[in-house]
Amino acid sequence: MSDNIYLPWIATITEVRPETADTSTFVVTFDDPQLRESFTYLPGQFAELSNFGVGECPIGIASSPTWAGSLEFCVRAVGTVTNAIHDLDVGDKLGVRGPLGNSWPIEEIEGKDLLFIGGGIGLPPLRSLIHYVLDNRERYGAVEIIYGARSPQDLVYKQELKQWEEQPDVDLYVTVDAGDGTWDGPVGFVPPFLREINPTPENKVAFTCGPPIMIKLVVEALEEMGYADANIVTTLEMKMKCGVGKCGRCNIGDRYVCRDGPVFSFDQLRRIPGALEA
């Protein structure tokens, strides 16, 4: 983070990987070679990406801090800035302000089994942690990943899904809401799919990220399966602007999602009035 908390670093797009019809992964490298070395972050943190002249928007860092040299952002074209970012090409510049926010609890979960439950574009924030865990394999227990999307075309990181599928130390379960000719895997929504798989709660922490309705039903299911609120961790989505807990937009209760989040455990959320209203 720069001393001037509003001043972004300049980075160059080195690769654009289309993921779905409206989502692409942007790989960026800082222009300042020193910064490339010194920039550190934790899985779960995010950055404000600038397309200068259009504006800034918060995007989770989808790469793992264990990878050197570049950052990855999975951007869905929904608003003005994200659409403008999609207009950029390899070689174009972006502003990157960060890292911002808290992170997944990488220390607290050492030695535990980990369950990742993602929906649609909710996989990228989990992906940072998944890779971090896989790159520090000895510090963590078993890894289960449950992922679902609306259709086979809406699955992101198709290459990695294939890779995890084959990896012996990862259990991957993928479902789609509606299949098509290309799909011979499970069909159905994530929450019932989760119930079907029924992963045991012992010594396990569950991480979930996805559309609000999915998170709500996933948490209900996890609770019924015996997961304690403290062992259910999610990221919250609120409108963010400054990213540094000042502009007043993204609070739930007295917590700013951009500063104190976006990662919260469910026992934290239950103590904040209004946090679970959505």
Partner: protein
């Protein structure tokens, strides 16, 4: 997300563009525009070679937008759109930039600045193209029947023409008899043929045609729908019939102006109009020895500026007839100019003079005066050639008045949502480019409803209207241009401005998912954009011309004028 890939084709148009605009510079400039992946210049982009190059590049470069910078869309846009479509690209992903009429032709003396302008126009076109979206054209079936409003010569001719094509036709006539205005005439001009000889066979054919249904003493009470599917209510003595038709022809004709209060008309018993003259004298009333006709009564005056076109012929016709009945009769025609166009009428005009009809020119500043208290006794007029006042004795004064629109034209125009011109006649879409048609699809006009027309003109217009009205019926369906308006339900607050301004009646308010909203009938919308301009909340957006597309053009033109948004 697959990136938008724009291909730009800049045309030299031989020397037309290339002789002024430095095309290679424009090409080079376009190469650096966002999303542009290929730029070509062609001697003639519209040539077979140029078109196939567009198609090739769409395939090779996987283009998702095509921009052609060349001439006018009026002539060439369909061609390029066709080429896109043939290469598998939706035709609405094409953007036309006019660097000929808008640039090289008008700036031919300033090649440097013309080149800069061409670059700017291309930048704007590319900026807009990036936001183009594929559109589907709406197709609707056409009900195989036609409505003809009016049973005069024009209406009957049109009806017969359509019916002879095998189309079911409904003719609605307000009067109890067919025939229209011609029924009030005795003879035709210049043949002096009895009008009955023209009308009777026409009427007979219409009445006897199995494909024609005639509603006499009836009026059109209501019309709803659009081309292909008009619902028409026809009323007669409180009885209503519902008709479904695919197209409509307006042939409601016109009526003679009754010049109340002018030249003693309606106060002096022996001041009549030409039509009244035909009615009474041609039917055998005693002929007076001194007749003065006054032309241009109520025509070519400030409140009615048009020329009635064949009022002069009528006066000539009746003057000749008078002279033929009584060679000693003194017949004078006071006129402002004699409109005796064409060989026949000019001949008759000369013939009338030879027969001794006196033609005197008067000045509108100094109009004739009808003298006499209880009856017209003489007409005083300033003789322009002699430069002095003359007094012409008159036993009868005949006023030549123009045809004026029927009183109920306005009601019908509102029902059909078609316009009337300043004089109150029906106004076609374009005098030269789209005669006989209205801007509203599926509705046509012929005869004196359009403008005072002679019988030959009415007949040819009727054939034209019938031909036009028959096309969609025989095609069986119509495709509606996809450049129409849609309403963003989330932002529409149903103020109703769009409903008021729409010239085609294509918008109405209805309950939607987000409360009351404006709803656009795609089949009726012509994409004129009136509602878009009138909408205060920006909810009405025109496909192919939405805010984002237009603002991106402005942004490209004036980097810095519009920040961020839309780009």
């Amino acid at each position: 997300m697959p990136k938008t890939r724009v291909g730009v084709f800049v045309c030299h148009c031989g020397n037309n563009i290339g002789g002024v605009v430095r095309v290679p510079e424009v090409v080079e400039d376009a190469r650096h525009l966002p999303n542009v992946v290929c730029v070509e210049d062609n001697l003639y982009t519209c040539s077979e070679e140029g078109l196939s190059s567009i198609k090739e590049q769409i395939a090779e470069q996987n283009l998702s937008r095509v921009v052609v910078a060349s001439c006018t869309p009026r002539t060439h846009e369909p061609l390029f759109k066709e080429a896109c479509e043939e290469a598998g690209l939706n035709r609405y992903l094409f953007e036309f930039v006019n660097i000929r009429e808008h640039c090289s032709w008008v700036h031919r003396h300033d090649p440097a600045r013309a080149t800069e302008k061409a670059k700017e126009l291309v930048r704007m076109g590319v900026a807009k193209a990036r936001y183009l979206e594929p559109q589907e054209e709406f197709e609707s079936e056409v009900f195989p029947a036609a409505l003809v409003v009016g049973g005069g010569v024009a209406g009957m001719t049109a009806a017969l023409s359509l019916a002879n094509q095998g189309i079911q036709v409904y003719v609605v006539e307000r009067e109890e008899k067919l025939g229209g205005l011609v029924r009030e005439l005795r003879t035709l001009f210049p043949t002096e043929q009895d009008t009955g000889e023209l009308l009777s066979p026409l009427m007979e054919q219409v009445r006897g045609h199995p494909q024609i249904t005639v509603y006499l003493g009836s009026e059109v009470e209501n019309v709803e729908g659009f081309i292909g599917d008009f619902q028409v209510t026809v009323g007669s003595d409180g009885q209503n019939s519902e008709l479904q038709v695919g197209t409509v022809i307006v042939a409601t004709g016109a009526q003679e102006l009754r010049p109340s209060g002018m030249y003693g008309y309606s106060t002096l018993p022996n001041v009549v109009t030409q039509l009244e003259f035909e009615e009474s004298f041609k039917s055998g009333a005693d002929l007076p020895p001194n007749v003065v006709m006054i032309n241009c009564v109520g025509a070519r005056v400030p409140e009615r500026t048009y020329c009635g076109r064949f009022c002069c012929s009528t006066a000539i016709k009746n003057a000749i007839w008078l002279k033929e009945q009584d060679p000693d009769a003194k017949v004078s025609v006071l006129h402002r100019d004699v409109m005796a166009y064409g060989v026949d009428i000019e001949d008759s005009y000369r013939g009338a003079m030879e027969l001794g009809v006196r033609f005197l020119r008067y000045d509108i500043q100094n109009p004739p005066q009808v003298l006499g208290a209880k009856r017209a006794e003489a007409v005083k007029v300033q003789h322009q050639l002699m430069g002095k006042e003359v007094i012409l004795p008159a036993d009868l004064v005949v006023l030549t008045t123009p045809l004026v629109p029927r009183e109920d034209s306005e009601r019908l125009s509102k029902m059909l949502k078609v316009p009337l011109g300043t004089e109150g006649f029906f106004l076609e879409a374009h005098l030269k480019l789209r005669p006989i048609e209205f801007s509203t699809d599926g509705i046509y006009v012929c005869g004196s409803a359009r403008y005072p027309s002679s019988i030959p003109e009415s007949v040819s217009q009727a054939y034209a209207a019938a031909a036009k009205a028959g096309i969609p019926i025989r095609d069986g369906s119509v495709r509606v241009e996809a450049i129409t308006v849609f309403c963003d339900e989330r932002t529409c607050s149903a103020c109703g401005n769009c409903v008021e301004v729409c010239p085609f009646g294509a918008v109405e308010l209805e309950e939607g998912k987000f409360g009351r909203i404006a709803s656009v009938s795609v089949a009726q919308c012509k994409g004129c954009g009136c509602c878009v301009a009138a909408c205060p909340s920006g909810a009405m957006q025109q496909r192919g011309f939405d805010d984002r597309q237009l603002l991106s053009m402005i942004g490209a033109l004036a980097e810095g004028m519009v920040s961020g948004g839309g780009r």
